[in-house]
């Protein structure tokens, strides 16, 4: 069924279809409508879940961590400083290998206070061991939530479903709302390998030594390092599971997509713009304009940011002359995190071949600064003609 709703509603509808048993959330703009909607669903009875209005984001994720450890499918959502306030729990959820799904409605972080969109919040959580998926429209938000539960439970790793605040969260767009039956066919009920149980007591997440240690049966148990190594290994394996996820999703819903990347007019392009989220759809307009001028350029959205699909990215960019990375966040003191990651992937796969494309990095839309499509078009054109002198270059900076 096609409906017209805002991005937060798309998320909430997707979550309801996944039948979470426990939802905990604390209000923060622009996330609030997602969790308000979910509280409505629970109160009206269209979703059978425990809705916990907690007193902080730290507790929101604490509730999800504990509820998941006890065997429930859980959900939370946040933005900006709410996500930063969760940070300790974000790390904990990954270390505890809990398949939590959390929507991050991307917003700038303080100081100074700013409620508008950029992606500094989720990018700053890049190294926490979570899977990060970015959405570019409402259909992707809804679909990604459903896919995320499947993948998180498959690999026992939590997932952030990231989408741009306001640009997606508060705008209305048509999208297909799947039947509950179809979602049930795609996503079976959560069956944890172990859940807290008085008949089968276990002491979860307790102090674990630097080295391996014998258990009471004389078997060697992991040390902290082994546990952390396995998180890294399983994150890398999640790239393969994501491909299976897309195949299964396409089989049930008929919407087929590349699990990692979303290229647009890239096949014969000499230059490719790269980004995360809704910005890549805006860049399509610039690409079309430049194509009309005869410039062979395309744009590629990165949908799967962690684990980083390095091989897929390097393959997609092989033979290109230049790559222009647009980001709404940066690793302060250096450059955009995506640009660094992308360069690293290119070096790994194309280094020494003499066919390394140039990589340029632009920062845009920080703290919700309006990104004019014309500025993107002009920036792209200029970057294709000649390398910018100072990187990362900030678009629309008025200094």
């Amino acid at each position: 069924m096609h409906i017209i709703e805002d991005g937060n509603a798309a998320a909430a509808l997707g979550v309801r279809l996944c039948r979470p048993q426990v939802i905990a959330a604390y209000p923060i703009t622009p996330q609030t409508p997602v969790t308000e909607k979910l509280s409505e669903y629970v109160e009206e009875g269209s979703l059978s879940a425990q809705y916990i209005p907690v007193e902080s984001e730290h507790s929101a994720l604490a509730v999800c961590i504990a509820a998941s450890s006890a065997g429930a499918r859980v959900f939370t959502a946040t933005s900006a400083n709410g996500l930063l306030y969760m940070h300790e729990q974000v790390q904990w959820a990954a270390g505890a290998r809990l398949p939590i799904v959390m929507c991050v409605v991307n917003r700038a972080v303080g100081a100074p206070w700013n409620i508008w969109n950029d992606q500094q919040d989720s990018i700053s959580q890049r190294d926490t061991g979570w899977i990060q998926m970015y959405c570019a429209d409402h259909q992707q938000i809804l679909d990604t939530v459903i896919k995320a539960y499947w993948l998180a439970e498959k690999v026992s790793i939590p997932i952030m479903v990231c989408y741009d605040g306001y640009i997606l969260s508060h705008t209305f767009m048509p999208f297909d709302l799947p039947e509950a039956r179809a979602v049930d066919a795609f996503l079976p009920p959560f069956q944890p390998e172990y859940a807290l149980n008085p008949r089968e007591p276990a002491n979860l997440n307790t102090v674990t030594l630097p080295d391996v240690r014998m258990d009471v049966h004389g078997e060697l148990a992991h040390g902290y390092m082994e546990i952390r190594y396995l998180l890294q290994e399983d994150l890398r394996l999640a790239l393969g599971a994501a491909a299976e996820m897309e195949k299964r999703f396409a089989g049930v819903f008929g919407r087929e997509a590349d699990p990692y990347l979303e290229p647009y007019r890239c096949d014969d392009a000499d230059f490719v713009a790269v980004g995360l989220g809704s910005l890549t759809y805006q860049l399509r307009v610039s690409v079309d304009a430049l194509r009309a001028e005869g410039i062979r350029v395309g744009v590629m959205g990165v949908r799967f940011y962690r684990p980083f699909p390095d091989e897929a990215i390097a393959r997609a960019l092989t033979g290109k002359t230049g790559v222009i990375v647009f980001e709404k966040a940066l690793s302060y003191g250096y450059e955009g995190a995506l640009a660094s990651d992308l360069k690293s992937a290119l070096y790994e796969y194309l280094g020494g071949t003499g066919r390394l494309p140039t990589v340029q990095n632009f920062i845009a839309g920080i703290g919700g600064r309006e990104i004019h499509t014309q500025d993107l078009t002009d920036t792209l054109r200029a970057a294709i003609q000649a390398r910018v002198s100072k990187e990362p270059a900030w678009i629309g900076l008025k200094l």
Binding site: A62, P201, V207, R213
Partner: protein
């Protein structure tokens, strides 16, 4: 209905803590925990933030507790209880008890927000604050419940200059069905209070005074004696607040009849942490205790 008082003879023999834990010699917590788990029983899930109890419970993959336990971040104990309860509710499980055991720092300082949130929501679990009056696990630093005059690793020469935070009073202000103040030196009082509160609705809060040999500075064999001195001097009171109604219990209740408190000086002089307390300060504290007890006496008349 008055429940029969448990005696050492009627205390169940089933143990939920294996012998030989990593707790310090003479640890007051190991008494309170052992007896507390007996009262909670086998159908219980535990939540523990980083604290002395984490050490007592053992290092992976060895555990000293025979109940399932979720170790959680320092500030999130009560929120984790909420999470487990939510899952139990979703599963239709109405029989399993959820119990959190946190230290005084994890309760009165970093965990207070989450505890207040869970209590305000009325989540149905039992929260135990074992109060050894400092961050003992990290090497004896001051906490919100360290008493005035106590030397700690970060109040090294002058002792703590501020009053102990009254956490049970804070929790009582949340309109809880049950708040109790207990002591490791009176484990049967703790046991009976746990039995008493189990079927009451919402959050139940227990504050347990825990003598700590390395943190307080006394010979480990005197832990019970010192815990009792705290009560017999009227310095630390055993009581319960049932649906808002305050009542002294056990030895504290008897003190009202006796109307004779041991001078608090004896308590202070039993531990090296109070060595900088002057006679003048002790006299001042004695005065406060006497005034508090005058109130108790008047109430009982």
């Amino acid at each position: 209905m008055q429940q029969a008082k448990t005696t050492i003879l009627s205390l169940p023999t089933q143990e939920f803590v294996h012998p030989g834990t990593r707790a310090c010699t003479g640890c007051g917590l190991s008494i309170a925990y052992r007896v507390g788990l007996k009262a909670l029983g086998p159908d219980t899930m535990l939540i523990v933030p980083p604290s002395c109890l984490t050490v007592l419970q053992g290092l992976f993959p060895v555990a000293s507790t025979k109940l399932p336990c979720l170790n959680v971040t320092f500030a999130s104990t009560a929120a984790a209880a909420t999470g487990i309860l939510a899952t139990l509710k979703a599963q239709g499980n109405t029989h399993t008890t959820v119990a959190a055991w946190a230290g005084d720092g994890g309760t009165s300082d970093i965990g207070l927000q989450a505890l207040s949130g869970a209590a305000e929501r009325g989540d149905n679990f039992i929260y135990f604050c074992y109060d050894n009056e400092g961050y003992m696990n990290t090497g004896v630093q001051r906490s919100g419940t360290t008493p005035i005059g106590a030397i700690t690793a970060n109040t090294p020469f002058k002792g703590k200059l501020q009053q102990k935070k009254d956490v049970p009073a804070i929790m009582a202000a949340h309109h809880l069905s049950y708040v109790a103040a207990c002591s490791a030196a009176y484990p049967l009082d703790l046991y009976d209070k746990i039995l008493k509160c189990r079927d009451l609705p919402g959050t139940k809060y227990f504050h347990i005074h825990i003598p700590c040999p390395p943190g307080w500075g006394y010979d480990p064999r005197y832990g019970i004696k010192i815990g009792r001195l705290a009560v017999e001097t009227g310095y630390y009171d055993l009581y319960e607040v049932v649906n808002g109604e305050f009542r002294l219990t056990a030895a504290s209740e008897k003190l009202v009849e006796k109307r004779k408190l041991v001078p608090v000086r004896e308590y202070f002089r039993s531990q090296s942490r109070f060595k900088v307390l002057t006679e003048e300060q002790i006299a001042d504290i004695q005065k406060q205790i006497d005034e508090k007890w005058e109130g108790y006496y008047k109430k009982s008349d």
